[in-house]
Subunit: 299 residues, 2 copies
């Protein structure tokens, strides 16, 4: 089964204390799509401008990502620029040029409307809902978000959350949404907003799933060095959804392992700028780290 | 086998946003000793003043803690007073009255000197070393510390670390000691100071072991509510050492499970003020949570 992924497709200029990389391929949908592509076919829905480098189109294609839903419009590609502090945990946005994203309305090609696995990667919640409105009956809908939408589009976001099977957010967003410092108390409150599965991402501390079978404490793969964490969260959900779309059995049977796979793809993402490292790995590298992670958590 | 535990024995006055509790039984050795007592016999080494409430002596005795090494001296018991912020992560010290601790020199009774398992719970590193100097050949020596000693007694602490089998510290202390933000990079540096096993505690995010068999990612038991985290780290190492002292097989075979047991005892510690909750549980409650934690981490 394939995964339909909608989200941002962008050019990222990323500064860390050690290096500066302009106009990398970025955006939530790019990271999620490449991550998912290791496990299942991917249909990408997004928008880029005429300045979008051909080599990035080639990159998508090398990952066999279906680009029928990628609009190329007159104007500039969404450009984000950010800077990380020394500890790689805090980042600040230096610049956001929306470009063609300003007027983007995702329209699903006919063939996409019957997709069974849908990932609404980070993008305005009104657009995420707009995508859902065009769909028939997906089997599993997951969405990610960011603090910006909690700040400026909370009513839209709440409407969206109520339509999801799985809602994925990071710990500071969970705190912002629920006013709960305790992650398990926050999970409980978020379930009341609708989703059967809630996943809170905690960066290098891993992630927590709350679902019908209780909690799952998902570890992060140990990294001695983080080069650039941009897109790690998107890679996590992308990898998870890709795994879920092709795994046999129920969501409940597979979601824990799916998170482990997502966690491992996210670890590769952190080891290079943008998608530099993720695009250089194969499924066998992922399997190897999953094996290691299994050993690292056994007791 | 029994565990010898040396550390502080104190009265703690703890303020949280919800409540205030004066003169609870506290101190690193008290928490660690009670935690260890669920698994093995414990010999406590510490000092209290004449004001030390009889009911706390009774409490130690109910846990069958050997008090031959507990000195009762003229003067006041060490008194610490602290206040937690709303998120229960940040605390500030309101008052520290050293009392009889000011001139304390731990002297080991003859019977204690041949102990095989030694936990040097948080106390000045010079005193931790002084205890080691009186011992024959312990099979396994672990020590905990705190930021204060990194600030005012680093040379003493480094000398001590070099004599340990296992060094336990929290993530901010690991950062302070190594200048490494990355916990795995920090672990590598701390090994170079001597210990075969290094454990970094990360509070509600669990802990990480680095040892001869690689890393172990140890989860924290999920708590919906933290009443008072004081002593959780001491309970963790205490529980771990108690488990290790009685488990059959090598340290390598047992240390991961020992950390899981320690983690569970620490979870109980957080659910009440001081030792209020920990002293009300039985081994069966611990086993139950270990079972749950096993389920929560399976994939």
């Amino acid at each position: 089964m394939s995964v339909l992924i909608v989200g941002s497709t962008a050019l990222d200029s990323i500064k860390t204390p050690k290096a500066e990389n302009p106009r990398l391929l970025g955006g939530s949908a790019s990271h999620a799509a490449v991550a998912a592509s290791f496990f299942s076919p991917v249909k990408l829905v997004g928008v880029v401008g005429e300045d979008f480098p051909k080599r990035y189109i080639q990159l998508y294609k090398r990952h066999r990502i279906d680009l029928e839903g990628l609009q190329i419009l007159p104007g500039k590609t969404f450009h984000w620029s950010g800077e990380y502090e020394l500890n790689m945990n805090n980042r600040r946005t230096l610049l956001t040029e929306l470009g063609v994203f300003e007027t983007f309305t995702p329209t699903l090609p006919k063939a996409h409307q019957s997709s069974q696995f849908v990932l609404l990667a980070n993008i305005a919640p009104s657009l995420q809902s707009h995508v859902l409105n065009q769909m028939q009956r997906p089997r599993f809908i997951a969405a990610d978000t960011m603090d910006l939408w909690l700040n400026i589009a909370l009513p839209d976001l709440l409407k969206l959350i109520n339509r999801l099977d799985a809602f994925v957010l990071n710990d500071s967003e969970a705190h912002q949404l629920t006013k709960e410092d305790n992650v398990f108390a926050a999970l409980r409150k978020i379930h009341k907003l609708g989703p059967k599965y809630v996943i809170i991402k905690k960066g290098s501390h891993g992630s927590i799933l709350s679902g019908p079978q209780g909690f799952f404490i998902c570890p992060a793969y140990p990294l001695h060095k983080v080069v650039d964490p941009t897109g790690a969260g998107d890679s996590f959900v992308g990898g998870m959804m890709g795994y879920l779309a092709t795994a046999k059995g129920s969501i409940d049977q597979n979601i824990r392992r799916a998170m482990i796979y997502g966690s491992v793809v996210a670890s590769f993402c952190c080891e290079g700028f943008g998608l530099n490292r993720t695009t250089r790995i194969r499924r066998s590298h992922i399997n190897q780290r999953v094996k290691e992670l299994t050993k690292l958590t056994k007791f």
